[in-house]
């Protein structure tokens, strides 16, 4: 047996020589293409239109002839239209924000849950977790995939999971101090907030058992990593995922902290030019596109993640042979991630057009206060229905706030502004002002 510098959950798959993996990928891709052609009418139609037959896949590179799948396709087939199996085979349903009021829905078969647990076990092992670990899982449990994704992976490796879920900082601190958690899983911004609260409370961070953090669900930077590692006695690792593909566990850093290994025996990655859709060379920044090679519930061909990254060239000293992607450097659409939750400006617009007291001219201001994201929605009052009473305006403000919070699932601030104060550039409004320094 080869020796590796760090523990690897599944050495057979994770250190497989690239040629063997390529054959495996091709074999799985052929299966996938026949599977979706037979089971998902959306793909049957699309392949027929493009005159593609499952037998046309002969080399892995042939994937480039297949059509892309987008979030819009998921919305158009809401809620279950892209499922490849009847609901009796689905054992779990998760959802994330859609670009409009309707969420993006994904379903998992029992096999899918097993795959998810497997890739999460790889991710956590790559982040330093073992069966002796105590994992304080502060990702939200619920429709959001973060909580349950980490949970199943941690159980698979035999660690002890504390399913504390997000928020309730006082309790997070109590458990950190008393339960001996050595692995913390949450968003990086919440980690910094937690560090700040620990400092305020005068907790001696050296006495904590914490050693590793698995952070994701929002973009973060090397500067934030340094900050976290300075303020907490941990190594901070980057995890990547999205519910459409499976949830967290699509890719994860190893302890080398130099790029995220993407588990490409399950998720075949491409990086393309976001405008032309053409493939880019290693090192070139573009949009990550993923094909779910093994998923059964809602298999996706060439899903446009809208996340911008590049392949990290070279071999990783950890011994894993999976390709690495750089940390996510932005989005090719206007999606915002606020406290780990995806927010599309169009969701907010949809709420505003239904409220008579304001015009659908708005601006989103995102700031970070005490390491927590704050979203302020500036809305122009409607000249035609302006009430001269403070309480009338405050009632509309409250109403807008409640309706937006209902749709987004996160708290927002609403601020009424005068007409024509929202910046307009060349006729098109500048909708987002992101003041966070990440």
């Amino acid at each position: 047996m080869r020796k590796f510098p760090y523990a690897i959950w599944n050495p057979e798959m994770e250190t497989m020589d690239p040629d063997t993996r390529k054959s495996l990928q091709l074999y799985r891709l052929k299966d996938l293409v026949s599977y979706v052609y037979e089971n998902v009418p959306f793909y049957t139609r699309k392949f027929n239109e493009m005159k593609i037959m499952p037998g046309d896949i002969r080399r892995i590179e042939d994937i480039q002839n297949l059509p892309f799948t987008t979030k819009t396709d998921l919305r158009d087939n809401y809620p279950y239209g892209l499922f490849a199996v009847p609901l009796e085979k689905i054992v779990r349903i998760h959802a994330s924000s859609g670009t409009t009021g309707k969420p993006t829905v994904v379903g998992y078969t029992r096999e899918d849950i097993d795959i998810w647990s497997e890739v999460m076990a790889r991710s956590l092992t790559a982040s330093g977790a073992t069966q002796h670990s105590i994992v304080q899982n502060a990702y939200g449990y619920g429709l959001f995939t973060g909580g349950l994704g980490i949970h199943y992976g941690a159980e698979k490796i035999g660690a002890s999971v504390i399913p504390i879920s997000g928020g309730n900082t006082a309790r997070q601190i109590l458990i950190l101090e008393d339960f001996g958690s050595d692995i913390l899983t949450c968003t990086p911004s919440y980690t910094l907030y937690l560090a700040e609260e620990l400092e305020k409370k005068g907790v001696d961070r050296k006495k904590l058992k914490l050693r590793y953090g698995v952070f994701g669900a929002e973009p973060w930077s090397e500067a934030m990593r340094k900050e976290i590692e300075k303020r907490l006695p941990i190594k901070a690792l980057n995890i990547y995922g999205l519910s459409e593909i499976i949830g967290p566990g699509v890719a994860n850093e190893c302890l080398e902290q130099n790029g995220l290994h993407i588990f490409d025996d399950h998720f075949y990655p491409e990086i393309v030019d976001p405008d032309s859709g053409l493939p880019l060379k290693p090192g070139q920044k573009g949009e990550l596109v993923i094909t779910t090679l093994t998923k059964k519930g809602i298999p996706l061909i060439r899903y446009r993640t809208r996340d911008l990254t590049s392949f990290v060239p070279g071999e990783c000293p950890c011994g894993r042979t999976q390709p690495r992607i750089d940390r996510i450097m932005g989005r090719s659409d206007d999606m915002l991630i606020i406290r780990g939750i995806n927010v599309f400006p169009s969701q907010i617009e949809e709420v505003l057009v239904k409220i008579e007291e304001v015009s659908p001219h708005y601006q989103l201001i995102v700031e970070r206060e005490h390491n927590l994201d704050v979203l302020t929605v500036m809305v122009e009052v409607n000249q035609n229905v302006f009430s001269d009473e403070i309480k009338g305006l405050e009632t509309s403000e409250k109403k807008i706030q409640e309706e937006i919070e209902n749709v987004l699932g996160i708290s927002v601030r609403v601020k009424l502004v005068e007409p024509r104060t929202v910046e307009r550039s060349e006729g098109k409004a500048k909708r987002i002002v992101d003041k966070r320094r990440i």
């Binding site: 009052v381 409607n382 000249q383 302006f386 009430s387 001269d388 009473e389 403070i390 305006l393 405050e394 403000e397 601020k415 009424l416 502004v417 005068e418 007409p419 024509r420 104060t421």
Partner: protein
């Protein structure tokens, strides 16, 4: 009934100055004013010598403006003057939305501007009471 001009203003430095300059430039005279505010925004309420022109000028500059009917009432300019009138409102179960003082005044009399949720009803209820309303046209030129 008196026509009040209400303007939505963000709490932003210089905003009030801009409105008053605009009035000056158009030779419009502010007869009374009040500001109601929250932490985010305020409403400037004005009694002008020419409310219709004021609204036209403000709209042209894209201000959010509305005309609101208010009542102007004469009050004795001496201790207890305001209390007396509020006492009458109280006896007649009349609720005040807001009120403020008029800048100019008559000899020994002050003028108060009142906004009720139902001005007409107030006028009816108080028609034979000892309350002196001031006509709009008289007030604008006072």
């Amino acid at each position: 009934m008196v026509k009040q001009v209400s303007i939505f203003l963000e709490n932003r430095a210089g905003r009030l100055y801009e409105v008053s300059s605009l009035m000056a430039k158009n030779n419009l005279n502010i007869r009374a004013l009040s500001i109601a505010d929250t932490s985010d925004f305020g409403i400037l309420r004005l009694i002008m010598n020419d409310p219709d022109k004021t609204i036209e000028v403000l709209k042209k500059e894209n201000y959010t403006v509305s005309a609101t009917d208010v009542l102007a009432i004469e009050v004795d300019d001496k201790p207890g003057g305001l209390a007396k009138i509020l006492g009458i409102f109280n006896e007649n179960r009349i609720n005040i939305e807001y009120m403020y003082a008029f800048l100019g005044k008559l000899p020994n009399r002050a003028i108060m501007i009142f906004r009720f949720d139902n001005n007409k009803l107030v006028l009816e209820k108080l028609s034979n009471k000892d309350v002196k309303f001031i006509e709009a046209k008289d007030l604008y030129n006072l």
